[in-house]
Structure formats: C-alpha cells, structure tokens
C-alpha cells in the first residue's frame, strides 16, 4: 500500500505534512526531544521573538477554564539575536521547517527583527505575530486595524526574503479585513487564529485569577470559533491559510482542512500530550488511507455546503 502524500505548500514554503507546532506552545523546539522526533513534524513555530529579550508578565500566568486555558505569559523570550546564536543551531539537524514568530511595538521593530532573521541558517519562514492579547507590545494594535496590519506586513516584506506568514487575531469584527490587508501587502500565507481575549475571576478572593487580569483563551473551547474564521478567511483570500484553535486530534485538524486550511497548527495540545503533533499526523495519514485518498491536498477546502446556506 502506498502511503498517502501529506505534503503541502504554503506559497513558496514546502512542508512534508500539514502539521505545524504552534508558537508559544513548543518552546524553542528542543524541549520536546525526549518525546518526539522533530523531523516528523511538518514544521514548528518557536516562541514569539522580539528585538530585545523580554521577561514577561508576573505570575499567576495561566489557569484552566472549561475546555481550555487562559494564558498571560507576556511574550517572555530570549530576543532575536540570542535565538539565532543559541537556539536555532540546535535545530539544524532536523528535517523540518523552523518558523520564527516575531512581534514588536512599532513597525520599525518588526522590520528590524525580520531583517536580523533574514538569512539565519536553518530558518524556513517568519510568522508575524500581530495578535498577542497579553502585552502592549504584542502587536495587537496592528492586529485590530487592517491599515496598520497592512503597513507592518509591507515593512516586514521589504526586510526579508523568507516566506512570510501573518498570524491574525480573532479579536476583531471581521477576520476577512485583516486577511485581505495582509495578502495585499505581500504575505505568503495567513495563520489563524491567535487566542481570544478572556478573563477568569477568583470569586473567593474577589480578584482576577491572572495577575495580568486578562489572558488569551485557547484549547477546544475556541475550536468552533476558529473553524468559522478559517472558513471565512480562506474564502476571502487567494493565499493559503493555516488554521488553528483547539486541535487535539486528526479529526479536529480535518475540520480546519475541509473548511479551507492548507495546513494546521497544534498548540495547547502540546502541553497536554507532548507528542500530540505526531498523533495528529498519524491520524491524518490513516484518514486518507481509509478513504482511498492519495493526497491531503485533495480535500483542502472541499467542505460541501447546501444551497442557500450563508457563506
């Protein structure tokens, strides 16, 4: 029996399979070496990087909520330079695509960070984080405003030859506006969604559970919202869309793929089950095999909707 072809393309970026470990849930990659072979992954996105290192928010930073979790890590990271010097070389021996997630406080910071990453050995692509809800610096001001988002995309596009993904915020009225703006300014692909802003209250202490008050909601709780936005965005643009939001299993991933995602990212599941990405890849393979399909690309965006349903 011939194994089904799981490879996909995100513009100029080729992935051996459509499963990418999501930023903020996969450290700098090497933390997962005890649990899986990084070479089996379609790709991995490292923790969001800024020009300078950041210490992040005070604890408590996370809390479990129904079918999900809130986090307010505050983009703690080693900074772009230390990443290139100390973290990236450790990933050199693995046959997977390494994506750097980048954020800044200004257009210039984004562009400078992209420029420093351009040409970094072993780096496959850049994902712009214009959607972290937990810090002033997290780019949310760009994610909330299609014009600003277009400008920052353009600035980064000029700073790097690497394939460029733009990660969209779901905390908007219409996901399609940002999607179109990023496409118009040269994004090679979109990834969505980042976390939804949420809040949990400690009733006994009459305080917010998180020191940051608000946090980003992830996990299965957001999956239907994320699938819907993936469906909307993928129909609004011509560039490929990477879907994410609460994917735990291959069936969850297939929801996004059928709704229009060319690839998916697995996030919160990595915390719960360190080899979650591998399980999703195997499940996709089994799904294709059992249906006699030769390639995952055959089913991208093949959702069948009845006549007269809203689009």
């Amino acid at each position: 029996m011939v194994k089904p072809d799981l490879s996909v393309a995100l513009g100029p970026l080729r992935l051996k399979n459509p499963v990418i470990a999501a930023s903020g849930t996969f450290g700098y990659g090497t933390e997962f070496l005890p649990f899986l072979d990084l070479s089996e992954l379609g790709g991995l996105v490292v923790k969001g990087l800024s020009l300078e290192p950041r210490v992040g928010n005070p604890p408590p930073r996370i809390v479990e909520t129904p079918a999900g979790m809130l986090n307010a890590i505050g983009l703690q990271n080693v900074g772009v330079d230390a990443f290139v010097r100390e973290k990236l070389p450790a990933l050199a021996g693995y046959d997977t695509v390494v994506l750097a997630n980048v954020f800044g406080e200004t257009e210039e910071e984004y562009a400078l960070a992209c420029a420093r990453l351009d040409g970094a050995p072993g780096l496959g692509a850049i994902e712009l984080n214009v959607s972290c809800p937990n810090t002033e610096a997290g780019g949310m001001i760009f994610g909330n405003d299609p014009i600003a988002l277009g400008r920052v995309t353009r600035a980064c596009r000029r700073s790097t030859r690497l394939p460029l993904l733009v990660k969209l915020s779901p905390n908007v009225t219409d996901i399609r506006e940002g999607a179109r703006a990023a496409e118009a300014e040269g994004a090679d692909a979109l990834s969505l969604v980042n976390t939804f802003v949420g809040m949990a209250v400690d009733v006994d202490r009459r305080r917010p559970v998180l020191a940051n008050v608000a946090g980003g909601l992830s996990g299965p709780a957001i999956r239907p919202l994320a699938v819907w936005m993936t469906w909307q965005a993928s129909r609004a643009v011509k560039i490929p869309v990477v879907g994410m939001g609460g994917i735990l299993t291959a069936r969850d991933a297939l929801e996004f793929i059928l709704a229009g995602a060319s690839a998916v990212q697995v996030g919160t599941a990595n915390f719960i089950q360190p080899d979650a990405c591998i399980r999703v890849i195997r499940g996709l393979e089994d799904h294709l095999t059992s249906r006699g399909l030769s390639s995952i690309r055959e089913i991208v965006g093949t959702l069948e909707t009845g006549e007269g349903r809203r689009s």
Binding site: T25, F26, G27, E31, F32, P34, F35, K47, V55, G56, P58, P59, P60, R61, I62, V63, E64, A67, G68, M69, N71, I73, Q76, G219, P220, T268, N270, F271, I272, Q273, P274, D275
Partner: protein, 269 residues
C-alpha cells in the same frame, strides 16, 4: 529522562480530611526518580484538559510496604482535578509524565543535619527525602505545621522516621498553637550549626522560612508549587521571580525546569 506513560492506579488511600495517598505503577522510571521531583498526572477522558503536577512522595523503599516499580503521591482535594482523582479506584488509568524538574540536593558534608519544615500538604515530598537521609545514616529533624490537627497527613510516619517532630497548628488543635516559624527561629538560634533546612508549604510560609534561614546563614532549599500547563518548560506559566544575573538582576525562572526545588536565596520575593 522523563517518560510519558499510561499507568494503572494500584491504590488510592483516603487518609482522612480530604488527604489521599495515590500509588501507581511506574516500572521504567520509579528507580530513577529523585526526592523533590514531580509528575504531571492526568485522567483519560476526563472533562479536565491539563494534567496536574504532583511531587513524588514515595519512591521504592520509602514506605515499608512499598515495592519496586511503584511510586506514591500525596495530595489534598483542592479543586476539580484533585476531586476527580480522589474518585479513582484500583485499576483506573492515569496519564503520567515524569519524573520532571530538579529535586532536593543531598548535603555535601556528613556532619550536615537536615531539618524538614512542612506546612500541611506541603509534607508531600518529604517521605522520599527522609528515606534518602535514613539510608545515608542520618535521621532528619522536622517541624510540621498546619491549620489544624486534620491537616497533618502522614504525621505518624514522620514521627517514626524523623527525630524531634515539632508540630504547630494555627488553632492549637495539635502541638503548639502558632506557625512553624516560631520553633524554626528558636531552633536556628539555639542549635543551627550544620543545619540544612528543606521546606515545602504555602508561599507565605516559604517566604518566612527563607527570611529566617537567610538571616541565620543556614542553607535552605524550598520545594515550590505553581499552576502549570505542561511541566516540561514550554508553557512558561509556572514562573517565579528569581535573582538570575550575576549582580542579582531579577527575572523569571520556571518552577517545572529550574525548580521545583530552589535555594532560598535564589527567590526574589
């Protein structure tokens, strides 16, 4: 090297007052688990998403009846996760990840005199640690504090295994009324020479113990607790403020990787 495995519950003993001692099979990692390390434990198909961290309480040899290839954790029901854990019977399956983190360090000097300071369920990591000392021919001392007599799990075991177990309770229902810091201060003042303090309990207690031991120039290791999603260093949810730089700059370090056991002077509380 941590492992991710499915383990059957071997026993889940109700110690009373919402305290439980859970034993599970861990053939591949039990003998490599060090006192102070922890496990992330989840319940398959439960409505709880994240695993929860538990310090190892017993490794092979800790309890008289304990056998090879088994581990014990001591826990108190404090929320949905532990309430559900308490319902599990022998044979139920657990998703176990571990051993994780850095455990306690054994003293360099044979003259060292360990003193365990526990607050309530914070006694959880100390049976395994006490047994390591006993195996090295050292009998640890202990101060065991809690809110009331109901919150002193395994007190009888500690009385058998440690010398001079001093008990304090907030309400005076057992031992001396008050906090662990009173006997600790007395002990450090009267007989602190060669003492090494190992403390685990609520954060206010750990802060107070850190202040006292640093003031007395006595080495002290704290076993910390924090909410965490992953347990292996990627969620960055469990951080504590620490002095990380050479000049005492403060930053955050992960309880799950740089801890859960940290030297008292490292914490920037």
């Amino acid at each position: 090297m941590p492992q991710d495995f499915t383990a059957p519950v071997l026993s889940n003993i109700d110690l009373g007052h919402r305290n439980f001692l859970l034993e599970f099979a861990a053939a591949d990692v039990a003998s490599a688990t060090e006192p102070g390390q922890f496990f992330m434990i989840g319940i398959p198909h439960a409505d709880i998403l994240l695993r929860r961290p538990f310090s190892v309480c017993g490794v092979p040899g800790t309890f008289d009846e304990s056998e090879a290839g088994r581990l014990q954790v001591l826990y108190k029901c404090v929320g949905a996760g532990t309430d559900l854990l308490a319902t599990l019977k022998e044979g139920a399956r657990l998703h176990v990840l571990g051993p994780l983190g850095r455990g306690f360090s054994m003293p360099d000097s044979p003259r060292s005199r360990p003193l365990l300071v526990a607050g309530g369920i914070g006694s959880a990591p100390f049976p395994a640690l006490a047994r390591s000392f006993l195996a090295a021919g050292i009998i640890p001392r202990m101060i065991y504090g809690a809110r009331s007599a109901a919150d002193l799990p395994l007190l009888d075991w500690f009385r058998k295994s440690c010398s001079d177990v001093l008990v304090t309770t907030d309400d005076g229902s057992h031992g001396t009324k008050g906090l662990v810091t009173a006997p600790l201060a007395d002990l450090l003042a009267a007989d602190g020479k060669d003492t090494i303090v190992y403390a685990c309990g609520p954060e206010p207690m750990l802060r107070a113990v850190a202040r006292l031991t640093i003031g007395a120039g006595v080495p002290c290791e704290l076993s910390l607790e924090a909410h965490m999603a992953c347990g292996f260093g990627v969620c960055l949810g469990c951080v504590v403020p620490t002095r990380t730089g050479p000049s005492g700059d403060t930053g955050y370090e992960r309880v799950c990787v740089e801890g859960p056991v940290m030297r008292a002077e490292r914490l920037a509380w």
